[in-house]
């Protein structure tokens, strides 16, 4: 289900270049710190392909556009032979969305965040990962994630187990075992 016209995609050459151009222009216009922006974009450039236990960059894009509105750091991690995790570690908002947020309008920030979560769930399904983890670094983030868990746990017959596990929101898929032939 997609509530917003966003997509969660890795960075192809075109998306990387257009995102670099736009985010760098934002920084030079004083909307973000140039050194931080450059460091982030260098990280994206170096993390476009998934590799074992290292993070990979995904962008949140408006459908049909190539400038990321958010950049997310994802780790796809094999825990055991039969268990994989997808971890969403952080999300960078583009400066104009961050500015809206600071002005009290959180709609677009939430849309980007939700698109990143939806995209992470798609990755969980694609990689047949039992668990999706969303990192909460600060008490503010953990409080929000705890509130989210309590909402989810009010839903009957949920196919995912939701709990706070350390500093992560953990969503474990309760998959049905396949029948033996």
């Amino acid at each position: 289900m997609t509530l917003t016209p966003f997509e969660f995609r890795p960075f192809c050459d075109l998306r990387l270049q257009e995102t670099k151009d736009a985010w760098t222009a934002d920084a030079h216009a004083g909307l973000a710190f140039p050194s931080e922006t450059e460091r982030l974009l260098d990280w994206v450039t170096a993390h476009r392909e998934p590799s074992a236990n290292d993070s990979v960059a995904f962008g949140v894009f408006l459908v049909g556009t190539n400038v990321a509105l958010g950049i997310s750091e994802i780790v796809i991690q094999r825990k055991t032979v039969r268990s994989k995790w997808v971890k969403m570690l952080r999300l960078h908002l583009r400066s104009n969305i961050d500015a809206e947020l600071q002005d009290g309008n959180q709609e677009n920030a939430m849309n980007v965040f939700l698109a990143a979560i939806e995209g992470s769930l798609d990755l969980q399904l694609t990689h047949m990962a039992t668990t999706l983890k969303i990192y909460g670094r600060t008490s503010q983030q953990l409080n929000y994630l705890k509130s989210l868990v309590s909402k989810l746990n009010n839903v009957p017959k949920l196919k995912f187990a939701a709990k706070i596990d350390g500093r992560f929101l953990s969503l474990v898929y309760k998959a049905e075992p396949l029948e033996h032939p």
Binding site: N53, K87, Q106, A109, R137, Q141, K151, Y173, L178
Partner: protein, 59 residues
């Protein structure tokens, strides 16, 4: 004598379960944001973009 090793069946991942859960999760995420309030969400996003030691988190 041959030894036969059997493994438990692999779980079945159903795309319809994930689509259903997305809808539930989005509703819950918006309700949670309403509950904690806009100032808390502002902090949430500001904190969320701060740097994290990812190598440590990935371990």
């Amino acid at each position: 004598m041959k030894t036969i090793i059997t493994f438990p069946p692999l779980p079945q991942f159903r795309s319809e379960d994930f689509e259903e859960f997305k809808s539930i999760l989005i509703t819950a995420a918006l309700a949670a944001a309403d509950q904690v309030g806009s100032e808390a969400m502002k902090s949430f996003f500001n904190d969320y973009k701060d740097s994290v030691d990812f190598a440590k988190q990935a371990a």
